[in-house]
C-alpha cells in the first residue's frame, strides 16, 4: 500500500464516480442560466451596433434612426462612458465602443437599449457609420509585410540550433498552417445588470472570470471595485471564450443600467457572438530540423507566427504556452522556439481550451512525422526515440521533466491496448490493395503543463460556513461551466467534515464572497479551488474538534469526523449537534481559505524556470479511412489512455476526456474559419461553421484512465483534466496524414489544419500530381 492509500480508502465521496451536482436539474430543464433568471420588473434589453467594415476612420456616426425606432429607450456610444472606454484584460487596447478608429469588422460602435430584445436588435441595424476605409490586414502575410504586432517578439532556447542543423546528417524544413477555432459554447454571451443604491451595480454574467468582469465594469463606470458585484452560478459552456471576452457585454449592460436606472440584459445573438468575440489563434509555423540516421533530433528551430487580431487580449500567455508546448513530448538538444504576435484587423483572438498549447504540440508532431517519412520509419518509432528520458529530460525552457516515465508508461500501455503494430501491418496491406480508399493510423502522446504561466494567477480562495444545524455553505472563486468543478469541490468538503454530500450547499460564485480571484482556466479549477476549500474546511473542523475535545476531556487528535457524526472512540454525537454546541460556545464556524501553488517560478526575461507545477500526460491512437476521390474522412477507431492522477471523480474525468477529444477533432477536421479579403468572417453562423455532431464521433471509441497518484502534493493526488484531452485529437490529424502518406511514401504530406475534405482532396492531388485514379 502506498502511504496515502489508507487515507484514500477512508474517503466517502472523493475518487467516486458521482454525477454532476446539477444533473437532476439539467435533465428536467430546471437549472437556470443567466437568461433564464426571472427578469426584474422593468428590465430593458440591449443590442449592439456593429462596424460595417474592418479597418477605417470613423467620420460620423448617425444614430437618428436608431433613436427614433420603436421601443428604444436609450442609445449609448463612447461619449456616454463615465469611466474609461476600455474592456481589455490588461493592455488598454480593447475599446468598449469605437471612438475614431474601426479596428475590425463587426466591432461594437454603439448600443441600443429598448423595451424588448427584438426592438433593440432591429434598432441596432439602423445606425449609419460614415467612414474612410483603409485596406485591412487580414492574413499572417499581411501583418508580416506591415511589420505589425500586438506585443514584442519573444524567443527562448538553448545551444546553437542553426549550427547543429547544419552539422546534422539530415535536415528538413517546412511551413505548416494551423487554423483557429470558434468556441461555440451552446449558451452565448449574456449578462444582466441590476442597478443598486449609490450607483452600485450587480451583474449576473456568464463568465469564467467574475473578478475581471467586476474590475472592467468598475473601470468603465468609473466606480471603485467595491461598488460592483459579479455573480455566476453556471455557464452553458465556455471553453476559454468567456475568460476575457465576457467582460464587454457585461460592461455594456452595466452602462445601460446606469444610463436608464433599470435592469438591463444583453444577450448576443449567435451571428454577433461569432463575429464579435475572439477565437483560438491561428498560426503559420516555419520550422527546420536536423537529425541522425535513426531519426534522433539534434536541433530544432521553430518560428510561430500567431495571428492575434487587433489587440493583445491574452495573446502573451497564449503564445507563450504555444512555445512551452513546441517540444510536445520530445527532447530537443539544441533548440530555438521563436514567436511573433501579429496584429491583423480582425477580432482579437483569445483563450480556448489548451490556450495555445495544442498548436505548439501539433506543429511538433508534424515535424516528427516528416522526419519519420524521410527515413522510411514508423512515426511511432521516431516518437519513442525522441521521447523525454533520463539524461534527456530538460525542456527548451529549462524545466526538468521529472515524471517522463509516466508518459512513457502510458505510451507503452496504449501501444499494447490498441494493438498498434498489428493494425499498422494490416493497414499497409489494405493500402497496397485499395486504390480509392486509404487508411491511416497514428499514436501520439500528450504532455501538458499545469499551472498558469503568469505565476500570480496560481492562487485561489474559498469561503465555507457551517451553520448551527450542521448544514454547510460552500463558495469558492472557481466557476461552473459544465466541467463538474462544483461537484468535485463539494466532494472534497464533504469528506473533510465526514458528512454526506447533501449537507453541502453549493452556491453561486460571487466577487462579494471571494475577491480577487483568478479565472477558471488553465485546467486549474479543482487543483486551486479544491485546495482552498479544503484549507477552509479543515480550519473549521479543527476548531470543532477542539470544542468536542474540551467537552469530552480528550486530545483533539482523538476526535474523528465520519458518517455525519463526530466520534471519540465509540462515543459520539451528530455533526449537527456539535455545530450547535460550537455556536453556543462561541466558536466561529466560518473560514476563508486561500491556496497558492508551490514551486512554480518562471523568469520570462531569462526564458527559464519552472512555469508548471506538474505535467498531465496522455496518448491516443486513431485510425481513419480517407476517400481519395472525394476527400471524405471517416474516423474508424480511437483508443485513449489519459493521466488523471488519482481521479477526484472518474465519471467526470471520462467526460472531460471524451468531450475534449471531440472538440479537438472538430478543430482539426471540420471547423474552418474563413475571413475574406475585406476582413469579414464568412463563417459566422452554424450553417457555415461545422462543429462535430454525434455521427462524427468514432463508432469505436475506447477511453481509459491512467490512475497513478500525482507525484506532486495536489488535492488528493489528482491531476487537472480540463484541457489536456483536447490534444489527444492530434492523433486524428496525424492518422489522416499517414493515410495520405501511403499515396507517395517518402514524400512530405502537404496538409494544413484543419484537414477538411477539401484540404484532404487537395493534398491527394498534390501528392499524386493531380493525375487521380
Amino acid at each position: 500500500m502506498q502511504p496515502n492509500d489508507a487515507e484514500a480508502a477512508a474517503l466517502r465521496h472523493v475518487h467516486k464516480p458521482l454525477p454532476h451536482d446539477s444533473a437532476v436539474k439539467h435533465v428536467q430543464g430546471s437549472a437556470p442560466y443567466v437568461d433564464d433568471l426571472p427578469e426584474p420588473e422593468g428590465t430593458l434589453h440591449v443590442a449592439v451596433g456593429r462596424a460595417p467594415i474592418a479597418r477605417a476612420r470613423l467620420q460620423e456616426l448617425d444614430l437618428k434612426a436608431v433613436r427614433a425606432a420603436p421601443g428604444v429607450v436609450a442609445v449609448l456610444t463612447a461619449a456616454d462612458i463615465p469611466g474609461r472606454n476600455d474592456v481589455s484584460p490588461s493592455m488598454g487596447d480593447d475599446p468598449m465602443f469605437v471612438e475614431r478608429e474601426i479596428l475590425f469588422h463587426a466591432q461594437a460602435l454603439f448600443a441600443v437599449v429598448a423595451t424588448t430584445r427584438e426592438a433593440a436588435r432591429r434598432a441596432a441595424l439602423l445606425g449609419i457609420a460614415k467612414t474612410t476605409a483603409l485596406k485591412p490586414r487580414v492574413t499572417v502575410e499581411d501583418a508580416l509585410a506591415a511589420d505589425a504586432t500586438v506585443l514584442p517578439d519573444y524567443a527562448f532556447g538553448r545551444g546553437d540550433p542553426a549550427a547543429e542543423i547544419e552539422r546534422a546528417p539530415h535536415r528538413l524544413g517546412g511551413t505548416f498552417r494551423i487554423g483557429g477555432q470558434e468556441h461555440f459554447y451552446l449558451e452565448g454571451q449574456v449578462a444582466l445588470a441590476i442597478p443598486g443604491e449609490d450607483g452600485s451595480v450587480h451583474v449576473q454574467s456568464s463568465t469564467q472570470h467574475p473578478t475581471e468582469v467586476q474590475h472592467v465594469v468598475a473601470r468603465v463606470l468609473g466606480l471603485p471595485d467595491a461598488f460592483v458585484t459579479c455573480e455566476v452560478r453556471r455557464m452553458g459552456g465556455a471553453f476559454g471564450g468567456k475568460e476575457s471576452q465576457a467582460t464587454q457585454w457585461a460592461a455594456i449592460a452595466a452602462l445601460a443600467a446606469r444610463a436608464t436606472g433599470r435592469p438591463c440584459k444583453l444577450r448576443l445573438d449567435r451571428d454577433d457572438d461569432m463575429a464579435m468575440t475572439g477565437k483560438r489563434h491561428d498560426f503559420r509555423v516555419d520550422w527546420q530540423v536536423g537529425f541522425d540516421d535513426e531519426g534522433r533530433i539534434a536541433a530544432l528551430d521553430s518560428l510561430f507566427l500567431a495571428r492575434c487580431g487587433y489587440s493583445a487580449d491574452l495573446s502573451q500567455g497564449v503564445v507563450d504556452r504555444t512555445m512551452f508546448h513546441a517540444d510536445s513530448s520530445y527532447f530537443l538538444p539544441a533548440v530555438r522556439i521563436a514567436s511573433r504576435r501579429l496584429k491583423t484587423d480582425t477580432v482579437s483572438n483569445t483563450a480556448f481550451r489548451g490556450f495555445g498549447g495544442p498548436q505548439g504540440m501539433l506543429a511538433m508532431e508534424r515535424v516528427i512525422d516528416a522526419v519519420a517519412w524521410s527515413l522510411g520509419k514508423d512515426p511511432l518509432d521516431v516518437r519513442r526515440l525522441n521521447f523525454y528520458a533520463a539524461g534527456r529530460d530538460v525542456t527548451p525552457y529549462g524545466m526538468t521533466v521529472e515524471d517522463h516515465a509516466t508518459g512513457r508508461r502510458i505510451l507503452d500501455e496504449l501501444e499494447e491496448r490498441s494493438d498498434y503494430r498489428a493494425r499498422r501491418a494490416e493497414i499497409a496491406e489494405f493500402n497496397a490493395r485499395s486504390t480509392i480508399l486509404k487508411r491511416g493510423i497514428a499514436l501520439t502522446p500528450v504532455k501538458f503543463g499545469i499551472s498558469f504561466t503568469l505565476t500570480r494567477l496560481n492562487q485561489a480562495g474559498a469561503l465555507v460556513h457551517v451553520y448551527a444545524d450542521g448544514s454547510i455553505h460552500l463558495n469558492h472563486g472557481g466557476t461552473e461551466m459544465g466541467q463538474g468543478l462544483n461537484q468535485k469541490v463539494a466532494q472534497i468538503v464533504a469528506d473533510e467534515f465526514g458528512v454526506g454530500l447533501e449537507r453541502v450547499r453549493i452556491t453561486a460564485t460571487s466577487t462579494g464572497k471571494v475577491p480577487n480571484t483568478s479565472p477558471t482556466a488553465a485546467s486549474s479549477g479543482s487543483d486551486l479551488n479544491g485546495m482552498a476549500a479544503r484549507i477552509a474546511a479543515r480550519a473549521i473542523r479543527d476548531r470543532m474538534a477542539a470544542q468536542a475535545a474540551s467537552e469530552w476531556g480528550v486530545a483533539p487528535e482523538a476526535i474523528e469526523f465520519r458518517d455525519d457524526r463526530v466520534f471519540v472512540g465509540n462515543d459520539g454525537m451528530s455533526f449537527a449537534e456539535l455545530a450547535g454546541r460550537c455556536c453556543a460556545a462561541r466558536v466561529p464556524l466560518s473560514e476563508a481559505g486561500h491556496y497558492a501553488t508551490p514551486k512554480v517560478a518562471w523568469n520570462r526575461d531569462e526564458g527559464t524556470g519552472r512555469p508548471f507545477f506538474y505535467f498531465a500526460y496522455g496518448a491516443a491512437c486513431s485510425e481513419v479511412t480517407i476517400d481519395t476521390m472525394t476527400g471524405e474522412m471517416r474516423l474508424d477507431r480511437v483508443d485513449v489512455l489519459h493521466d488523471v492522477g488519482r481521479s477526484l471523480n472518474p465519471a467526470i474525468d471520462i467526460g472531460q476526456i471524451e468531450g475534449g477529444f471531440v472538440q479537438g477533432l472538430g478543430w482539426l477536421t471540420t471547423e474552418e474559419l474563413v475571413y475574406d479579403a475585406e476582413g469579414r468572417l464568412r463563417t459566422h453562423a452554424p450553417s457555415t461553421y461545422k462543429i462535430p455532431v454525434a455521427s462524427d464521433v468514432p463508432a469505436d471509441f475506447r477511453v481509459h484512465l491512467h490512475q497513478e497518484p500525482n507525484r506532486e502534493d495536489t488535492i488528493h493526488r489528482s491531476k487537472a483534466v480540463g484541457e489536456p484531452p483536447l490534444m489527444l485529437a492530434n492523433s486524428v490529424f496525424c492518422a489522416i496524414a499517414d493515410a495520405l502518406h501511403s499515396l507517395a511514401p517518402g514524400k512530405p504530406v502537404p496538409l494544413d489544419a484543419p484537414a477538411t475534405p477539401e484540404a484532404i482532396l487537395k493534398a491527394v492531388e498534390d501528392l499524386t500530381g493531380g493525375i487521380g485514379f
Binding site: S30, Y185, R270, G655, V697
Partner: protein, 161 residues
C-alpha cells in the same frame, strides 16, 4: 409597434391564451411568456436543437416555429415531459452515464432521443448516432449521450419482455 395576434394553444396539458407579436417564435414565447426556460436558445438558426419541443407530438425547433403557428396545437416542453414521468428512465440514464456537462443541450437531447425510443426496439448505435446528429453538444463528445440512449432502449425492451 406591430399589432399582436391572439392565440390559444395547449402547453403541457394546460390551455393558454395569449396575445403575441406575429414574429415571436415559439421558443421565446415559452420562455418569456410562460417562464418555461428549459427550452434553451442556442443558435436561433434551427441548427443546434437546444430549443427542441414537441408540437402535436412531433419534435420541432422552437426557434423555427412562430408562436402564431402553434395556434390551436398542443405543445410539450421538457418540463411537461419531465413532470409526466415519461422521461424518467432516460433522465436517470443521462444522469448515471454523465451524459451532460453544462446541461444546455440536455432538454433538446432528451426529447430527440425520446422520439427515437418511441419507435420501439433497440436501435443500433449507428442509428442512435444518426438520429441524434441534429442536436449539438459542445461538452460531452456525445459518447455518453449515445450510451445513455442505448441503455434506455435496452431497458425498455427488456421491460416489455
Amino acid at each position: 409597434m406591430t399589432a399582436t395576434v391572439s392565440i390559444t394553444l395547449t402547453v403541457n396539458g394546460e390551455t393558454v391564451r395569449a396575445e403575441v407579436p406575429p414574429r415571436m417564435h415559439l421558443a421565446d414565447f415559452l420562455r418569456e411568456r410562460l417562464a418555461l426556460t428549459g427550452t434553451h436558445i442556442g443558435c436561433e438558426h434551427g441548427v443546434c436543437g437546444a430549443c427542441t419541443v414537441r408540437l402535436d407530438g412531433e419534435i420541432v425547433r422552437g426557434c423555427l416555429v412562430l408562436a402564431v403557428q402553434a395556434n390551436g396545437m398542443s405543445v410539450e416542453t421538457v418540463e411537461g415531459a419531465s413532470d409526466s414521468g415519461e422521461l424518467q428512465d432516460l433522465q436517470d440514464a443521462f444522469r448515471e452515464r454523465n451524459a451532460l456537462q453544462c446541461g444546455y443541450c440536455t432538454p433538446g437531447m432528451l426529447l430527440t432521443a425520446q422520439e427515437l425510443l418511441a419507435k420501439g426496439g433497440v436501435p443500433d448505435r449507428e442509428t442512435i448516432r444518426e438520429h441524434m446528429s441534429g442536436n449539438y453538444c459542445r461538452c460531452t463528445g456525445y459518447q455518453a449521450i449515445v450510451d445513455a440512449v442505448e441503455t434506455t432502449a435496452r431497458n425498455r425492451a427488456a421491460a416489455r419482455g
